[in-house]
């Protein structure tokens, strides 16, 4: 390797400290060097697999350490339909809706596969446990494990169960740099078809160690939930007053 190339390698190595962008990749003619082409394909494969890996409710239930759970499906019967029909992913399968336990719940946690079941398998149970541990005397509904689900499915669930608030933990749309990112959406007294995304508060990029930690996410969520109860609402009127910015996941 020539001296110039070594120096250039050092320059790009130092620049890459400042961005995850795929810069300074070099060239094979006009195209990418083989190594970088394969690295891109590997990242794309991880993202694709995250989208299409089946949801395993049992994995999440096992991680919940004895908390009661209920399994439901959305009205989207399979992945292909789910990806093309977001409207079906927002509605419960009618049979499953009838099986949901009704009660005076303060909150129901919904663990939804979304666009990355991998994110849910890896991160959802610890977030539920850590958050529940901070809620003291709150009356918690059984955790609902929802398949082929969009965020707004939580509205249908909370409404059917009589819960005052819903927290949906959902696999975010996978990027090539992050295929396992979990989002959390908090909604107070949702009404299916009436509640909009502007009525929710969102934490995104829960993905330790690169993203938000379980403790960090649980702390923020529990704080937001407490204030939502005082305020009687969520959404634009409820701001995260902790030190980190939240930023709704505009891409889900």
């Amino acid at each position: 390797m020539s001296e110039v190339a070594v120096q250039a390698g050092e320059l790009w190595a130092s620049l890459r400290q400042r961005t995850q962008a795929r810069i300074g990749l070099g060239r094979a003619g006009s195209a990418l060097p083989t190594r970088h082409r394969l690295e891109l394909q590997a990242a794309h494969a991880a993202a694709r697999d995250a989208v299409h890996s089946p949801f395993e409710p049992g994995t999440v239930a096992a991680g919940l350490a004895g908390m009661p759970t209920v399994r439901v499906r959305s009205a989207a019967p399979d992945r292909l339909t789910y990806l093309q029909r977001p409207d079906l992913g927002r509605r419960l399968d009618p049979t499953d809706r009838a099986h949901l336990p009704v009660g005076k719940w303060d909150v129901v946690f919904v663990v939804a596969d979304g666009l990355s079941s991998r994110a849910v398998h890896e991160h959802a149970a610890p977030v539920v446990r850590e958050t529940a541990a901070r809620l003291g005397s709150w009356h918690l509904a059984p955790v609902v494990l929802a398949e082929q689900a969009r965020v707004a499915l939580g509205d249908d669930v909370a409404h059917a169960m009589g819960a005052a608030m819903v927290v949906v933990l959902i696999g975010e749309r996978p990027g090539m740099s992050a295929a396992d990112s979990l989002g959390a959406y908090l909604t107070y007294r949702p009404v299916p078809g009436v509640t909009t995304d502007a009525d929710r508060n969102c934490l995104s990029n829960i993905r330790p160690p690169r993203g938000l930690s379980y403790e960090g996410a649980a702390g923020k969520l529990a704080g937001l939930m407490g204030r939502a109860r005082e305020l009687g609402g969520t959404g634009v009127g409820l701001k995260d007053e902790s030190d980190h910015s939240t930023g709704a996941d505009r891409l889900l």
């Binding site: 320059l11 962008a21 300074g24 694709r48 990806l83 093309q84 996978p174 740099s177 891409l251």
Partner: protein, 463 residues
């Protein structure tokens, strides 16, 4: 007015022009989601038979969205140029297809026709065209615009350099900017999608880009893609705004969901023109569009997503933009399911935009939950290069770390220029030569050493 045709012994009836256009559309997930697609493949073809017989003049008397309730419809009909329309005024949609493909429709005739074509006419005729037809006609259309570089000349392909960063970190942006410039990119615009729309963050990025452009005397323009009201505010405060950006859509209600009105765009356009920051031209607007945005906003009025998209181009052409691009596969598979649907939409959008007289470029892209990959990018790039796209958007390695989607890469643009013999915008090409980035064949020289003067951009900011 209703439309009918007979196919396979069955009579098909379509109650309105909007219904007919929707049924004639190729299968796509967004129209299925909206519940307006043909019920069968036979019905789809029957709709095309009926559509082929519709006189073009009917589109002037039967708007797909009522004149009274939608300002985009009013814009389309109120600005229609009857004299420009005259050469095709007596044609049906089917006849129009054949005329467009014929030698009579050369670059001069198509340029003269543009103000006489409505979006619905363009969308209608595209539904009777195959992918190759869409390439063949779009290739003949030339739309030339200019600011500090000239976009759309024959034999040229410009690129948008997109150095996004998830936290707008200046050093991270500068590193990606350096990477793109060294790969010969950025003659259409150096354009950043900021992580926030805060005026302060936008201004910081504008000043960073303006500083680099001035220091190296780069014949290009910058754009930080914020809401039009943010740009208006920043221009009033003296920020270095080259191009005013806005996402637009094809109905008044969809534009309202973006927080824009025609009046607001008028105001921004006047303000940007008054700055006189262009050197070789004064096209000051940059618009992005994309199929599915009206449906996503619940504002599509039962009109198919391609026709609504074409109506967005009527909004764009009111402002003589420097650049318009469809962000074709960005929203996701609920609108365009796979590589096949994204390719078709890209060719339709490019064709319709060009026919209406716009400097059309593309963000050839997909999300990771769509059924597409980098081979689809290569296919789309090649076809759109042949079709004469004005510019394409390029990201480092084709992976945008801010918006989490996949687009073309700087390498892809090098490929396209090489295989089709396309060159950068002339002013930018001269600049590339002046800083030693053009090789003896006119391609981009492979430069990686610290010796190149541009590397100072990265070194200083990374220090």
């Amino acid at each position: 007015m209703s439309y009918e045709s007979v196919l396979g012994g069955h009579r098909y009836r379509f109650d309105t022009l909007a219904r007919l256009l929707a049924a004639a559309s190729p299968e796509r997930s967004g129209d299925r989601l909206a519940g307006i697609t043909a019920d069968s493949e036979q019905e789809r073809v029957a709709a095309r038979w009926a559509l082929a017989e519709v006189p073009l003049a009917d589109f002037l008397t039967e708007p797909v969205i009522p004149y009274e309730s939608d300002d985009v419809t009013r814009l389309i009909l109120d600005t229609h140029d009857a004299a420009a329309f005259a050469p095709v005024a007596s044609m049906t949609v089917g006849g129009f297809r054949e005329w467009l493909l014929s030698e009579r429709a050369d670059a001069v005739a198509l340029a003269a026709l543009a103000p006489g074509v409505t979006p619905e006419m363009a969308a209608a005729v595209s539904k009777l065209m195959g992918n190759a037809d869409l390439v063949a006609v779009a290739r003949k259309v030339r739309v030339v615009t200019a600011f500090r570089s000239t976009i759309g000349l024959p034999g040229r392909l410009a690129t948008r350099l997109q150095p996004n960063h998830p936290t707008d970190d200046p050093a991270g942006v500068a590193a990606a900017l350096l990477d793109g410039l060294l790969l010969g990119s950025g003659d259409a615009v150096i354009g950043i999608n900021p992580a926030t729309d805060s005026p302060r963050a936008v201004r910081d990025l504008l000043e960073l880009l303006d500083g680099v452009i001035q220091r190296y005397a780069i014949p290009t323009q910058s754009c930080v893609l914020c809401h039009v009201t943010t740009s208006v505010d920043l221009m009033a405060r003296g920020a270095p705004v080259d191009l005013v950006f806005q996402s637009i859509a094809g109905t008044q209600a969809a534009n309202a969901s973006f927080g824009v009105t025609l009046g607001l765009l008028d105001e921004a356009y006047e303000a940007a023109l008054a700055l006189r920051r262009g050197t070789v031209g004064q096209n000051v607007m940059y618009f992005e569009t994309g199929q599915g945005s009206a449906l996503s906003a619940g504002a599509h009025h039962g009109v198919d997503q391609q026709t609504v998209e074409a109506r967005a181009y009527a909004v764009a052409r009111r402002y003589d933009p420097l650049l318009v691009n469809t962000v074709v596969g960005f929203i996701g598979p609920e609108y365009l399911y796979d590589g096949r649907q994204i390719l078709r939409a890209a060719l339709e959008d490019h064709f319709c935009g060009k026919l209406l007289g716009l400097p059309m470029g593309l963000d050839i892209c997909y999300t990771n939950h769509a059924d597409a990959d980098d081979d689809d990018i290569a296919t789309m790039l090649t076809m759109l290069g042949v079709a004469g796209a004005s510019f394409v958007i390029c990201t480092p390695g084709g992976d945008d770390i801010m918006l989490n989607y996949q687009s073309a890469s700087y390498h892809d643009a090098l490929y396209l220029r090489e295989v089709l013999g396309l060159r950068p915008a002339p002013e930018f090409e001269a600049w590339l030569a002046s800083i030693g980035l053009l090789d003896e064949r006119g391609g981009i020289r492979e430069v990686s050493g610290e010796g190149h003067p541009l590397t100072a951009i990265g070194k200083e900011l990374a220090a």
